[in-house]
């Protein structure tokens, strides 16, 4: 038996569909990219071993508190007493609201408790203490 050797094989990768693939990826990243509008206050969150991920990013509202006891919600520095009004409004619009408390390590518990009381006034009971992985 004679072996037939194929002398010439044309080996070429079709590149015509490459732009389509890239465009698809491009559109994916364009859609998933969320530009951060505001980064809040400069804080250092505590580390914890039981840190969990928070689902439903769209339902999250951040309450920032830095070590000088300044509170910021939605880009504005506000006094503690107004927190319940602002969060209350948000809770009325979205009942699945989760409050992410971004509090600096050095803040005293009195302040944290005051904020929590305000949140309870606003019926926003689902909270999350923002922490880092340990």
């Amino acid at each position: 038996m004679k072996f037939q050797r194929k002398q010439e094989t044309k080996a070429s990768i079709p590149t015509s569909s490459m732009p389509d693939i890239i465009f698809m990826l491009l559109i994916f990243f364009m859609v998933t990219t969320v530009f951060k509008e505001f980064r809040g206050l400069p804080i250092l969150t505590p580390a914890a071993r039981s840190t969990e991920k928070v689902e439903a990013k769209r339902n999250i509202t951040y309450v920032w508190t830095d070590k000088n006891n300044r509170i910021s919600v939605d880009d504005k520095i506000i006094p503690v007493s107004v927190v319940s009004d602002i969060i209350g409004e948000k809770f009325a619009a979205n009942r699945r609201l989760i409050i992410s408390l971004k509090i600096d390590k050095e803040v005293k518990m009195g302040m944290v408790s005051d904020i929590q009381e305000q949140l309870r006034d606003a019926y926003a009971l689902r909270i999350n203490y923002s922490t880092r992985f340990k």
């Binding site: 364009m30 990219t33 505590p46 914890a48 999350n128 992985f133």
Partner: protein, 141 residues
């Protein structure tokens, strides 16, 4: 003067560079995308004015944290690192409900001057120990 009219104009969009442009955009979005996850310790606050829940006194583990970071568990001074182990022991001791949740209720009380960091460390250890019923008491005045 002669008017030179081009009869046939080659009108064509060059598509060969399209891939390059798309790549450039792709790389831009790849670099700028930050998929940052929100992470932390989840907790549900009690409703205001809700009915008081009666718990058997024996099922409560009271954790008191003062302003200098000292921890009292049921009136005994314990080191901060021991919280998880001791709470775990207590959970085993008190047993579990029918739904598999521990019967033990951990109450954490802090002083107003306690650092948030210490509070989180205590809460973290309680969570690590597996306690699901956690009560946050208002700080002492």
């Amino acid at each position: 003067m002669l008017k030179n009219k081009k009869k046939k104009r080659d009108s064509e969009i060059f598509t060969s560079s399209m891939a390059d442009i798309a790549f450039l955009l792709l790389i831009f979005f790849l670099v700028t995308t930050t998929i940052d996850m929100d992470k932390g310790i989840n907790l549900t606050l009690p409703e205001k004015g809700g009915a008081e829940v009666k718990i058997k006194k024996g099922n409560i583990a009271a954790l008191l944290v003062n302003e200098s970071g000292q921890v009292l568990l049921d009136d005994q001074l314990i080191p901060l690192e021991e919280v998880a182990r001791l709470i775990k022991e207590k959970i085993q001791e008190k047993g579990f409900d029918n739904d598999g949740k521990p019967k033990l209720v951990v109450s954490i009380k802090t002083a107003r001057e306690t650092d948030y960091d210490i509070y989180i460390q205590v809460l973290d250890q309680v969570k690590v120990a597996g306690a699901t019923k956690i009560s946050i008491a208002e700080p002492e005045q």
